[in-house]
Each structure stands twice: as structure tokens, then as C-alpha cells.
Amino acid sequence: MAKTYDCLFKLLLIGDSGVGKTSILFRFSEDAFNISFISTIGIDFKIRTIDLDGKKVKLQIWDTAGQERFRTITTAYYRGSMGIMLVYDVTNEKSFENIKNWIRNIEENASADVEKMILGNKCDLDSQRQVSKERGEQLAIEYQIKFVETSAKDSLNVEYAFYTLARDIKAKMEKKQKEASNPSGGRSGVHKPTLNDARKPVTWLSRCSVL
């Protein structure tokens, strides 16, 4: 069942109810689409292992219920996730406006290092569009988050979105590693005493000889 992998990234999908979080995940994990709407109960997750620059990265993608009544359960999963996708529905103005609330929710509950991304789903339904792509981009710039319009039904940009988020997380990981080398540079000070040990008796004795 379990193949070997190099890293495990935990991702989270949030957004209002009915924006298509489950569909996006279903498209990404199974490459399929289900037209019927079944509200997610609480939480669910899917696994897919992707190849990122020669590294096997296992993505554990948590799908949350958009419904208010599951909020307590879903917020519990914010903290452990390394990447969060904020999904809104381009045919639903309200869901777009709520993105701000979702972002605030992330700031309250998720780790500060979390990578974020905004997805405008259902972009295939151009006739019913209420939120233009420009508005979405504007919002993304405002929050300095990456943005992409997707369609789970037409399999548009879904793959791209997940890969981008995973790559961003990986880049952050490398960056953290580099930052971590600074304290480890300080750690060499811990090793230094071994050098000092050798010196210590010398200085102590030499002082004695002076006396």
C-alpha cells in the first residue's frame, strides 16, 4: 500500500459550501468528476504522490466541509497543514467575498508559515460568471497570495494549482533550511569548548608559573 516517498506535505482546502472543493480534490486525486452535489461531512482527505524535481512528495490533501456547522472540526485541521487552498466559486459573489473571512480564519488558526493560494473554481461556467478574473487577481495581489482560476469539471488548472502550491512549500522548506544554518553556525560555538578544553589547563598552568 505504502510506497516510499521523500516528503509528506499536508494541504487543506477551504471555502464556502458548494464552491467545488471536493470536486477539485476528486479531479486531482482520481482525475474524475461527479456532477451531483454531495455535501462533505466534516472532513475527508485524499492522497496523491507527485514527483517534484526528482523528489517523491506525498500530498495528503484535506477536504473540509464548507458548512458552518462543521467549523469546529475543520478548524482543528488548520494547524497541521503546510499549504491551504482558498476556493471560491466564480458564479457566486458571496463565496468570493467570504474569502477575506477565510483568510482571517487562517490567520487565527493556521501556522504562520503556511503557504496559501486562491482558486476561483467553476471558470468553465462563463455565462453565469459573477466574479471576473481581474477581481480575483486583485484580491490575490492584495493579500500577496498566488491565484488561479480552475475548473474541476473541465480539468483546467487543477493539476497546476496543486503542483504550484507543493512547489511553493518545497521552496519554503529549502529557505528554512538555509535560515536554519545560521543557528547551526552558532552551534559550532557548542563544539568550540572542546578546543578550549585543550587550552584551559595550559592557560591555568601558565598563570601559575607566572606566579
Partner: protein, 561 residues
């Protein structure tokens, strides 16, 4: 009144107000009727949580493997020592200089470092090397997700025992059970991952710390049951720790063990005929602090041969910097008969104080009458490139094995002759803190080999410190036609005491010849990487500066750079 109004206008909301506001969650969708979850919903969520636990379990095991791997590497590493590789203990040589790890500042040989790409960080630009240990630590930090969680997440070590850190939860217990079952049909373990090989050995380990100690390094390969037995017999922390670093050298080990098995086929038949009498000599002879040696003697009438099986030694004295030795045994039947040398030696077991020799040596031409008068002398030496130091010896009368094969445990007595014999040199070391220099006095040499046709040599000594930033080389005067020359010449090497622990003093004795290259008479290397007397002399010099430390050292006839 006015003032009060103003105050009200700009008053800061107090904690109670804030908490109330938080409860209201204004600005968020107002409808907050939260009907409790129905049983079916609860079930669905529970199922998801259970699935997630499975994933977590796989992840925990994967991280456990990473941790165990790192632990294994850490343990098998030699530890930081001057002028030796942190990981494999390789000393610096001319063609393979040691690199300094940019992270931990320890030295490692070129095989044990990786080049960090220069573009990655300006920090590495100066020293673009990272030792494998640091690299592995980083890799673990990355792969485990510790970079995100700020600590290594929950993990299950690849034994069947414990989930560390959060071991107390119900979840972890189920994890373990699941882990046990999937351990058997392991599909996701990396090739050469330690757990599949070592799983049985852990079940025998009683304590937690013990098992932690012996999480095997991936290099171990096939592990002898014999060997694990030794590990489980608790030795001191250090020896246990080092005993498995001994496994790092499977070559030497396997050689002896395979040899013993080859012999044991032969011995098995013999043993069946004659019951082995076990004479435990240990309580009779108090351990003099030089350790014990277990041997088995078997005399065979038909071939008039004596088979001596050197089984193992325990608690030997440490000879090198790390407190370990490279012991081998020299066996000799005494008294000698004429010029015929009846000397045999075992192979060397490296880096241990508790060597397993398991080697059978055969002495031929031993008559039955010899048994009553002759004895077997076993001397343990510490193998070294620069001559061997005696670590202890034992003598046993051959009468013991006249009737039947006997197994003996001998207590070793200390090294007999303190002063070396043969070609030797007397030198005095003194670190002068005033001059900030090492003063080497070449006093005299004795019993030098003759190289000239007149039966004498014309000796002089060349000496240098290595590595020396000043590249100072010194030479004594030439003492013509003399095998026991007296120089009493002093030489200065400017160095710092801290540097001294990673420098070596190399002396070579030469026979001066005109018209042809000088003949080599002997050499000596003193330094932190040397052993026994030489190490002691060197360390004394470092420890007690401004004191003169005079000592004889035997010269070796091997010439090294």
C-alpha cells in the same frame, strides 16, 4: 463630565469585552445554529480520522526510519578528533586532506563530505563542504517535516517497541500493533534498512536505553547472533557504544568468524568424543586491570599438534586517543628450542577493548613430553603502524590440556618491559609557554642498525612538525661511526598549545652516506593519533607545559611520509 465623555469615547476595550466580541464572531456569517452531529455523521468523521491515523502511522514509521538512520550514523561516527575524519576515523594524508564541515566545524575525509552547491548560500562560499552527518541531519529535518513543525514530529522507531514522544496515547498503541503486523510483510522499507535484519535482536533487549543504544547503523549488514549477545551483556556505556562501531568493519570480523566456523566443523567431532572440561580460572586470579583472555587448548596425539583457539578478550586497556585499542595476540611456546621460532599471531581486531578473536592457531611438533615442561605465552599487542605496544600478557602451562581440551580464562598481567628494546631513541618534549614553542630535545639513540660496511652507521635525525604553518624542518648533527649516538640537541617549533593536539612530530633517523642516498635507520611519530607510550608522552607534553618530559621510544623500521 466632559472629561468622562472623552474617556468613554476612546476607552480601550477590556478583556471581557474582547472575549465577548470574540464569542459573537461578528463579521462572520451571522447564522450560528449548530445542530449536534448525527450518529451517521459522527461515524463518517470517525472513519476519516481512522484513515488519517493509518497515514500518520506510515509517516511515523518513515520518520522513525530516518531517525534511526541518523542515530546509526551518529553512533558509528568516530566522533570529533583532531586530524581524523569525524565519521570514518581516517587520518589526514598527503593526497587526501581533510575537509572542514561548514556546519559543525569538524574535520572529515573527502569520502565523508559532500560539496554544498556554492550558489545555495553565501555562508558556504568559504568552506563548501558539509560532513555527511550534518547533511543527513538536514535531510532528516527536511524529510520529516520538522522544518515546518519546528521539531521532529511523532515517530515510531523501526523496532517493534516504542512510539517516542507521544507514546501514551491510545492511537500510538494501535499504531504499534499495526506496525508489528506490517513489519513482517514489509514492503516499504528501503533496501538495507536496518529494521528487517535486526528486528529479532531488539526483543531481547530489556531496557529502553539499551535498545536505543543499539539501533543499528545501516552499514552493519549481517549481524552475528554471537555479536548481539555480547552487546546485550551490559558493558560500560563507552564499550557498548564502541563495540558496535566495531561492526563497522565487517571485513575483519567476518574473516575471523568465518574462520572459526571452518574450524568448528573439525572441532565439533572432537568435542563429541571428549567432553570439554571447563576450568574457570577467573575467580582464582584477580584481574590486574589489564583485562582477561579466554582461550581453548586442545592437544591432538595423532598429529602431535596443539590447537589454541583464542576466543575473546575482555576489558583490555585503551591505547589510543578514544580509549580503544587494535589488539592482536602473539602466541609462543616457551622455552624455545634452538633457533626454531614457535611464534604465531592472531589477526587484529580493530577499535575495541573487547575483541572477539575466534581464531584457532596450530602449533605442530609438540610431543607429549613437551606438554609437561613447556608453557604457552600469550602477549597482547596493540597494532599500530608505528610499532606495536604491549597491552598485557599471560602464560599458561601446557599441562592443562594434556588430558582433554580445556577452556581457560586468563587474567592478563601488565606489560612486562616498560623500556623499549631494540633500536630506540630518547627524546624530551617541553612546551614553553614563554616562547610559545615546542622544544624537542634529541638526547640519544641506542642499538641503531648498522648500515655501513664498517659495521657502524653515521646517524643523524631529521624532525618536523606536521602540519606546520612555518614548515620548519630540523636536523641534528651527524655522529660518525656510532650506533649509540648522543646528541643532546634542542629544536624549537613555534606552535600554539591548541594546535599541538592536531599536530604530529615526525622523527626519522638516517645514516649519512656520501655519494649515495642516505640509509634509513628508523622513524617515530608522536601525536594525538599515536598510541600507547607515544600518545602518553605527547599528551603529557600538552597537559603539563613548561615541564620537560623525557622518554625512550622504540624506532620502527617502516618509513612513512
Amino acid at each position: 463630565m466632559n472629561i468622562q465623555n472623552k474617556a468613554n469615547k476612546y476607552v480601550c476595550p477590556n478583556d471581557r469585552q474582547l472575549s465577548l466580541r470574540a464569542k459573537l464572531r461578528t463579521g462572520w456569517s451571522a447564522a450560528r445554529s449548530e445542530p449536534p452531529l448525527t450518529p451517521s455523521e459522527r461515524e463518517a468523521i470517525a472513519a476519516v480520522v481512522k484513515r488519517a491515523e493509518k497515514v500518520d502511522e506510515v509517516e511515523a514509521k518513515r520518520i522513525g526510519r530516518l531517525v534511526a538512520r541518523l542515530e546509526g550514523m551518529r553512533r558509528s561516527a568516530r566522533g570529533p578528533a583532531p586530524r581524523t575524519c569525524l565519521l570514518c576515523g581516517e587520518t589526514a594524508r598527503l593526497l587526501s586532506p581533510l575537509r572542514t564541515c561548514a556546519v559543525c566545524r569538524n574535520t572529515a575525509c573527502s569520502k565523508c563530505v559532500i560539496d554544498t552547491p556554492p550558489h545555495r548560500s553565501p555562508l558556504y562560499s568559504r568552506e563548501p563542504y558539509m560532513c555527511n552527518l550534518c547533511a543527513e541531519t538536514r535531510e532528516m529535518w527536511k524529510k520529516s517535516g520538522a522544518w515546518f513543525y519546528k521539531s521532529v514530529p511523532k515517530y515510531t522507531l523501526p523496532e517493534r517497541k516504542t512510539t517516542r514522544r507521544y507514546a501514551e496515547t491510545e492511537l500510538s498503541r494501535t499504531l504499534q500493533e499495526a506496525g508489528n503486523s506490517s513489519n513482517e510483510g514489509k514492503t516499504d522499507s528501503e533496501p538495507g534498512s536496518p529494521l528487517s535484519i535486526h528486528a529479532p535482536s531488539f526483543s531481547r533487549q530489556p531496557s529502553n536505553t539499551e535498545s536505543r543504544k543499539s539501533v543499528p547503523s545501516p552499514h552493519d549488514g549481517p549481524f552475528d547472533w554471537n555479536e548481539t549477545d555480547i552487546l546485550t551483556h551490559g558493558f560500560s556505556g563507552l564499550s557498548l557504544h564502541r563495540a558496535d562501531s566495531l561492526n563497522q568493519r565487517p571485513l575483519g570480523l567476518k574473516r575471523t568468524s568465518s574462520k572459526s566456523s571452518a574450524y568448528s566443523v573439525r572441532n565439533a567431532r572432537k568435542d563429541a568424543q571428549k567432553p570439554v572440561t571447563q576450568i574457570e580460572r577467573a575467580p582464582a586470579i584477580p584481574d590486574a586491570g589489564f583485562g582477561t583472555l579466554e582461550i581453548r587448548l586442545a592437544y591432538e596425539n595423532a598429529t602431535s599438534s596443539l590447537a589454541v583457539t583464542v576466543l575473546r578478550a575482555r576489558g583490555l586497556i585503551g591505547m589510543d586517543m578514544t580509549g580503544l585499542s587494535d589488539p592482536f595476540c602473539r602466541l609462543e611456546i616457551l622455552p624455545k628450542e634452538g633457533t626454531y621460532s614457535n611464534r604465531l599471531r592472531t589477526k587484529t581486531v580493530h577499535k575495541t577493548k573487547n575483541p572477539e578473536f575466534n581464531e584457532t592457531l596450530h602449533f605442530f611438533g609438540i610431543t607429549e613430553s613437551d606438554l609437561s615442561v613447556k608453557s604457552l605465552e600469550i602477549v597482547l599487542f596493540d597494532d599500530d603502524r608505528y610499532g606495536c605496544d604491549e597491552m598485557g600478557s599471560a602464560t599458561v602451562s601446557l599441562r592443562e590440556c594434556a588430558k582433554s581440551p580445556t577452556q581457560l580464562r586468563l587474567a592478563l598481567s601488565g606489560a612486562s618491559g616498560c623500556e623499549p628494546t631494540g633500536p630506540r631513541i630518547l627524546l624530551a618534549l617541553c612546551y614553553s609557554t614563554k616562547k610559545r614553542a615546542l622544544i624537542v630535545t634529541i638526547c640519544r639513540a641506542a642499538e641503531l642498525p648498522s648500515q655501513d660496511s664498517n659495521g657502524y652507521s653515521d646517524p643523524f635525525v631529521k624532525l618536523h612538525l606536521d602540519p606546520d604553518p612555518y614548515h620548519k624542518k630540523h636536523k641534528t648533527s651527524i655522529k660518525w661511526r656510532n650506533l649509540n649516538p648522543v646528541w643532546n640537541e634542542e629544536f624549537l617549533f613555534e606552535t600554539r598549545p591548541t594546535e599541538l593536539s592536531r599536530q604530529n612530530l615526525t622523527l626519522t633517523v638516517w645514516d649519512k652516506d656520501y655519494g649515495k642516498p642516505n640509509d634509513f635507520l628508523g622513524s617515530l611519530i608522536l601525536g594525538a593519533s599515536s598510541k600507547g607510550r607515544r600518545l602518553k608522552h605527547w599528551m603529557d607534553c600538552i597537559k603539563y607545559p613548561d615541564h620537560r618530559h623525557e622518554q625512550w621510544h622504540s624506532l620502527t623500521d617502516t618509513q612513512h611520509l
